[in-house]
């Protein structure tokens, strides 16, 4: 009897853990593309953001030069950002850039160390585009939808 209860408790706690895990990932703040609040850019499609970050486009739709800024290779936000805008895994992104780097056709975006540096840099440099956790957004940057 005791054994039976224990087993049920285990299953229940596993289910609870699973549910919490799911809730956790569901509630996790989204990574959003941002520009400086001083930028003239207000909206960009996911495809346009992807084109800029993958080096396929050098300008915003209004003709202004677009400079993408990345987080360091290996950061969780970076992986989630590329999954969101391009549907690509970290390995696919790495493989994409390997192709371009090792043919001398281009270089990946410059990188900053973390979200804080990213926000600070984007806010201060009109013309750059980056991404941060939605929860970090403040008046210095504008979210692009």
């Amino acid at each position: 009897m005791r054994l039976h209860l224990t087993r049920r408790t285990q299953i229940a706690s596993q289910l609870l853990g699973l549910a919490l895990g799911l809730c956790g990932s569901g509630a996790r703040a989204d990574v959003v593309a941002v520009v400086s609040s001083k930028s003239a850019i207000t909206t960009l499609s996911a495809n346009q953001v992807a084109d800029i970050f993958l080096g396929r486009m050098s300008r915003f739709p209004n003709g202004a030069l677009a400079v993408p800024i990345d987080l360091n290779d290996g950061s969780v936000e970076r992986d989630r950002f590329y999954a969101k805008i391009a549907g690509k895994s970290p390995a696919q992104i790495k493989s994409y850039w390997s192709k371009i780097i090792f043919t001398g056709r281009g270089q990946p975006p410059k990188t900053v160390h973390d979200d804080f540096d990213m926000k600070k840099y984007i806010a201060a440099n009109v013309g750059t585009i980056g991404y941060i956790e939605e929860s970090m957004v403040d008046a210095s940057v504008r979210v692009l939808n």
Partner: protein, 417 residues
Amino acid sequence: MLRTLISCGLIATMSPTAAVAADDPASSMFSIGGFGTFGMVHSNQNKADYTSAPDQAVGAGYTNSWSAAVDSLFGVQLSANLTPKFSAVLQVIAQQNYDDRYWPHVEWANLKYQATPDFSMRIGRTALGVFLVTDSLKVGYANPWVRPPIELYNLVSITSNDGIDASYRLALGDASNTLQVAVGRAEYEYPTPNSTAVVTARSKDQFSFVNSFERGFVTVRTSYGQARVSVAAYDPLFDAFRQFGPQGVGIADKYDADDRMVRFFGLGAGFEPGRWFAMAEWGRVNAHSVLGNKTGWYLSSGYRLGDVTPYGIYARTRTDTSGSDPGLSLVDLPSYLAAPAQALNDGLNASLATSITTQRTMSVGARWDVVRNVDIKLQFDHTSLGADSRGWLTNLQPGFPVGTSVDLTTATIDFVF
């Protein structure tokens, strides 16, 4: 990714502007990166060697049933951002050469001038990117397969251009179109089957244009290339034919490989919406000589399941020219010339026979992204050679069954750093 050797930030810490520079995204003057593959291939055909490119001396099958010489290589690339507009790149690769040795060669070495974000010019040795993955041919990590399908990629064995090129990108709404034009020359060395003799191919007046259209996850590439190609190793044979009057001259003019205009056409499309990919490419090379005219194409698709991406490929090469020629008519020749004429005919037909590379291959494989920057791939190929065809095999041995089929098993580890 590319490890910073000397960063501007480092230099800047010595100057009063250090605080500002520290906030800047890492901008490096010199960077070094590299890539490599270690691969083992097994072939069940022990009377010939399977190689992954015509410039390899040995391969899997005859020389070794399991061979590491087919896919293994190591490359290092040094990049320098000299000024915001000028950059230089040097790439050196060590892999099996035409002489079965591994001394490194300079794959690319060029200086780039980025006039605007959309227009650049390069001078030096650059990639001749006529196919979808020609320019990353040797970067296994960048490709979904253990190697690009040789049925198409072997058609153009010259992959570099010593000269200048210009690239212009045009934004068309959601799409972008990049046109790359190159002029220059190249010189390549090839092994001779079952011999240590080296054949040199000189390619001059190279002109190519490659147009890439990209929209979202769709890429379409069209290319055209031409070059005047000379393979001096054929000269003695055709010079001898020319001694036999008009009919000999006619044969030599038809087949010789001296300053011969070779043309290439290519069309490829890639579709990569995220979890799966599909690629199709077609190419034709008209050598108008003993080297033969050939058509190649493949279809490939794969689907990503987490870290594992299984894929399939179907690829074909067809030689569009004949593998034999009646040669000199012996009937009208004086008897003392009949034997030498027959020897020349035999030489011509032996050469023409090797130009027949008709084959088709069905492949299945999987890429597993093990850890960051490293993948492991496993691929099985079943190749059927056309009638009278030796396919792309080399070092044929007596008793090799022409028109046979070959099974390959390949395992590779690819990495980038």
